[in-house]
């Protein structure tokens, strides 16, 4: 009997081995869903008639915002350090052998009145520029503000400066909708939301006062979940911000919102942020179809009720959901045709929370403006960053527009933080 048992065991193990071997074979069938998209040569961007895009630089790394000085130097802020450095200098816009300095990753960068300003995810620094618009002392910046909230989520401290000695800093809310447990199904919204005391808005600091801390700032506008795209509009002396709207309406509230609703709600909002403005996050979101601020479901909303959101400040324009506006630029140059003067360019980084619906965005939009308000519909200005319709739909795109800057000649620069490209867009039509 014993012998028979042994032989049966042997037979069993042999079978198992054969089965395992078959499984091994299965392994060799390529699983295309798990493959990262192959690197492809940069496609031409599509632009309105008369405009041309040239690639200034490629593969610089995670280039977030960019700034161009009056003599054409390009400064690029990196979100991931490259050789230990977080700021790149392309002298005269030349991508060969860029200079680098600043040992912190981040998003914000700006050139203003002889200084370069740059931000980490918790502080703002500035560097004195010399006559050639180069940083005099790259190792020793002045710390303008320090100790700002950085809890990972929405930590980009994008910046803009006015003409009266103030700098505005986005302090994004480290949360989706201020639930007790962020993004958890069934977790209630905190009321009042304690995050609004230290984030979820734009704070104003003095440009010339080193060593400021959070408490030294003024909460300029609140109820903004994350305002990565912000810019001072010198033609009307006002601050403008674009909000990244909330996520996950379907995943957390499938009884109120379908998969399609989730892809289309809420609108991304273009905000005119006056001192004291309140745009309603986390209690409210903007529904572009109803053209209303709607009470968020974490606070008892049902997709229709306005409740406390009735009196909340509204956007000046609404964009499709989840497109992620990451840069805003008011065009002051004279190279582009008249309609572009003082209008707004907006770089949309592209969506992810629309899944399983097709992703969208990954383009630069133009909004004609008059007296500080939109003067017509928005239009796609530069497209083709995604690489193809399939890549756009899946979100596995070639490039993601993230930063905008205007050159001294009136050209528009666009940066990408996927591969690190910078394009220069010029007008040569009549």
């Amino acid at each position: 009997m014993k012998t028979v048992k042994w032989y049966l065991s042997c037979l069993f193990f042999t079978c198992v081995i054969v089965v395992s071997a078959c499984a091994e074979e299965n392994k060799n069938i390529p699983d295309t869903t798990a493959k990262l998209p192959a690197a492809v040569a940069g496609p031409g961007l599509t632009l309105p008639d008369g405009f041309t895009a040239t690639t200034v630089a490629e593969n610089l790394g995670r280039v977030r915002h960019i700034a161009v000085s009056s003599n054409g130097n390009i400064y690029a802020k990196l979100e991931r350090l490259k050789d230990g450095k977080g700021i790149l200098l392309l002298k005269g816009g030349n991508a060969a052998a860029p200079g680098s300095f600043g040992n912190y990753p981040g998003t914000g960068i700006a050139v203003k009145d002889g200084y370069l300003y740059a931000s980490s995810n918790s502080a703002v620094y500035r560097y004195k520029l010399n006559a050639a618009n180069e940083v005099e002392n790259p190792g020793k910046p002045e710390t303008i503000v320090k100790g700002l909230t950085d809890r990972g989520q929405h930590n980009a401290k994008s910046i803009t400066l006015d003409d009266a000695g103030n700098i505005y800093v986005n302090i994004g809310a480290p949360s989706n909708s201020c639930q007790v447990q962020d993004r958890a199904v069934g977790s209630k919204g905190q009321d009042p939301c304690p995050i609004l005391d230290y984030a979820g808005g734009i704070w104003q600091f003095k440009v010339g006062t080193p060593g400021q801390e959070f408490k030294d700032g003024v909460r300029y506008a609140t109820g903004i979940r994350n305002g990565v795209a912000l810019s001072w509009n010198s033609s009307v002396n006002e601050l403008y911000v674009l909000q990244h709207g909330r996520d996950d309406l379907h995943r957390m509230f499938d009884d109120l919102y379908t998969v399609k609703d989730n892809a289309e709600l809420p609108a991304e909002e273009f905000l005119l942020a006056k001192k004291g403005s309140n745009f309603g996050w986390p209690y409210c979101y903007y529904d572009g179809k109803q053209e209303k601020k709607i009470l968020a479901p974490e606070y008892g909303g049902d997709g229709k009720t306005q409740g406390r959101c009735e009196g909340v400040d509204k956007p000046i324009m609404a964009f499709p959901a989840h497109l992620a506006p990451n840069a805003l630029l008011f065009y002051t140059g004279s190279q582009f045709p008249e309609k572009y003067k003082n209008g707004a360019f907006i770089a949309f980084h592209g969506s992810w929370n629309r899944a399983p619906e097709p992703q969208a965005g990954f383009f630069v939009v133009f909004v004609p403006m008059k007296n500080g308000y939109p003067n017509g519909e928005w239009e796609v200005f530069a497209d083709g960053f995604a690489g193809s319709d399939e890549k756009r739909a899946s979100g596995r795109v070639d490039y993601r527009p993230c930063g905008l800057a205007q050159g001294p000649d009136g050209a528009l620069y666009v940066s990408d933080d996927n591969k690190g490209n910078i394009w220069k867009i010029t007008y040569n039509g009549k």
Partner: protein
């Protein structure tokens, strides 16, 4: 007879070692489990980790071929059940969005979705069982009391 049995024992031991080295738990789980797991994935995980399991740059980490998914099952179950608020780093990229706790899922659903994730997107790893999920949930209760 006894003399002949010794080499058979050796052969069996050898077979056993070969089997272990082949990682027998890398065989595909039953289709029914994968289907149930996919349904949970589509509802709970897809918007963040995406259809292809490759996540979202800077925000939501990929689930394909990462130690966080293929490594210790207890840690993986804990992340799904209790959530994870600290940013995590994969191949030098930091992912910032928090993983919410999924306390509303049943043990069966957690086991199914993790088995699905460990055997999709190019992953091949052993199934997660209901018993393993129960064990992790029990340890949470002990901590609370």
């Amino acid at each position: 007879m006894r003399r002949r049995l010794i080499p058979v024992n050796v052969v069996i031991a050898a077979l056993f070692f070969i089997l272990l080295s082949l990682e027998p738990d890398q065989t595909k789980p039953p289709a029914a489990v994968m289907e149930r797991g996919k349904a949970v994935y589509t509802k709970e995980c897809l918007t963040c980790h995406q259809q292809d399991g490759l996540g979202v740059q800077r925000m939501n980490p990929p689930l394909a071929k990462t130690e966080w998914v293929l490594g210790p099952k207890e840690r993986l179950i804990r992340i799904v059940v209790n959530g994870l608020t600290e940013p995590i780093e994969i191949d030098g990229d930091i992912f910032h969005n928090p993983m919410p706790p999924h306390a509303h899922l049943t043990n069966q659903q957690v086991a199914d979705v993790l088995t699905y994730v460990r055997n999709s997107f190019g992953n091949k790893a052993s199934a997660v069982t209901i018993r393993e999920v129960k064990k992790v949930r029990a340890e949470k209760k002990i901590k609370k009391s």
